[in-house]
Amino acid sequence: MTAVSNTKPLVQARNVHKSFDHLEVLKGIDVDIMPGEVVVVLGPSGSGKSTFLRCINHLESIQKGYIEVDGEQIGYRLHNDRLERLSPNGIARQRRKIGMVFQQFNLYPHMTVLQNIIEAPVGVHGEKRKDAIENAKQLLQRVGLSEKADAYPRQLSGGQQQRVAIARALAIKPKLMLFDEPTSALDPELVGEVLSTMRDLAKQGLTMIVVTHEIGFAREAADRVVFMDGGVVVEQGKPEDVIGNPQHPRTQSFLSRFL
């Protein structure tokens, strides 16, 4: 589970800056994420943690610095020793190894659960339909929703929808999974089922970046906790250190609210 120190990081973020109009949201983020590592990003609302996550697959473009995933610079390429912005299709190609789970689930409401899961594997990755369906059924079993394959998202509870969304993201066999506050839109009694699905994934060695407010999940499942505030990384380290014995006053005051 713990990252091996001599391998190359899967994600490298260097001096990442991002602003919306004149509001600077990210003020120089440096983070490395090793293959197989589970990193939980904590921080108060507005700390820039969701924005940072969205920069990793270029849903937001950054204004300074760079982000590299699996050896490729996201959104750009070197061409004749000059950095060139990628075309939309080039960016689309880079995103294909990154799975994402959204706060609002964002299942395709006009498709059944099964169609939701096979859409990208068949349509984007060119998998054979038969194989994709086979794989989708296994994934549904993994998230405990085998009997829901033919249901429409509307017929599912929030927790079930989010588990389908996780299966959908896994179906593209991602090298990296991004979770953007996956339990924030759920009723409290439904949070547990989604977190336990995510805990299983963490155990299986998937590289995950999880933006969340669930301190419990961070403590149990994370290899590393990154605490962000005001657009910078304030503190990072093992969960028992950052959560159990925070050094920075801002981390302390943030965590004190959960005790």
């Binding site: 880079q94 964002n106 006009h110 859409e119 009997e147 249901a151 509307r154």
Partner: protein, 310 residues
């Protein structure tokens, strides 16, 4: 709480009389009277229409399936279908251009919509029909250079082409706004999700956005189609032999103006009625994921899934 023992006592037979199962709706005399009055008025109106000889019902019956009328009907239907298909296709392109970040594309789309929505259809039709007075020759040329191929405008712009071009371009302007509204009605998160999964813009539109936009595009499009059927009657001014033109050509000979117009009216009503039915089926199709009991779509599977989710 209740001090009156009779309210709580069950009536004979054991059933509580407050149980709504036993309720009945009292007979409403007022409604019946209203129905009766309206029925009398309607019947009287029908009787007047049926017995007024000026309506010329025998003439209506005689000409209803007249070959001239039927060929005019085909022209109207054909024009509607062709102009509508072209209008929707072009409208989709214009809508996407209008929503694009590219200034050139969105500027062109806005200009197109501004012009074709802002001028009367009748004027546009007459304009197209009289193209030859503006440009006697249509040529493909190298800009400012020699011409490669050239046609006589009057040979290209027949009443048929003028009608199709006029109706389709006008329709495209309206459809573009309807389609744009539909695309905007889809949750922004859907496009973002498609993007995050590495879909190209085209695929995201085709597979994710348009199917969801259809729910708000279909009803106004049905409206447009019905308008289009009626708008085809305008082409009679450019000597295109549509339904209206053919009944006019008959009453110009026979002077049976009202009966012949009734023939056209009844045909227009028949077509629009059929279209209304078609529209409700299309709406049901695109609304299938909305219904909680997907009775028509996938009875067994969905019903079972539903049972379990409750």
């Amino acid at each position: 709480m209740s001090t009156n023992p009779t309210t709580n006592a069950p009536p004979s037979g054991g059933a509580d009389f407050r149980d709504v199962v036993t309720a009945h709706t009292p007979f409403r005399t007022g409604r019946l009277v209203l129905w009766a009055i309206i029925a009398i008025v309607v019947l009287d109106f029908v009787w007047i229409v049926a017995n007024n000889e000026n309506f010329g019902w025998p003439v209506v019956a005689q000409y209803f399936f007249d070959p001239t009328v039927i060929s005019g009907l085909y022209v109207s239907l054909g024009l509607t279908v062709v102009a509508m298909i072209l209008g929707v296709a072009l409208g989709l392109i214009i809508a996407i251009m209008r929503m694009s970040n590219d200034r050139l594309a969105s500027g062109f789309a806005s200009l197109f919509i501004w012009f074709f929505r802002g001028t009367p259809l009748l004027v546009q039709l007459i304009f197209w029909y009289n193209m030859s007075t503006l440009f006697p020759q249509l040529s493909i040329t190298i800009p400012f250079g020699p011409s490669l191929i050239s046609w006589d405008t009057n040979a290209v712009i027949t009443p048929m082409t003028a009608a199709i071009v006029g109706l389709a371009l006008n329709e495209a302007a309206y459809m573009a706004e309807i389609i744009r509204g539909g695309l905007l009605s889809v949750d922004r998160g859907q496009a973002e999700t498609a993007e995050a999964f590495g879909m190209t813009k085209g695929r995201a539109l085709r597979r994710i956005i348009i199917p969801q936009a259809m729910r708000s595009i279909v009803p106004p499009t049905g409206n447009q189609l019905i308008s289009m059927i009626k708008a085809t009657s305008l082409v009679s001014v450019i000597a295109m032999a549509d339904l209206l033109y053919s009944v006019q050509s008959i009453y110009n000979r026979t002077f049976e103006i009202i009966p012949m117009l009734l023939v056209a009216v009844i045909w227009y009503l028949l077509i629009t009625s059929v279209l209304n039915i078609g529209q409700s089926y299309i709406e049901a199709y695109y609304g299938r994921s909305e219904r909680r009991n997907g009775a028509t779509a996938k009875p067994a599977a969905v019903a079972a899934a539903e049972e379990a989710s409750h």
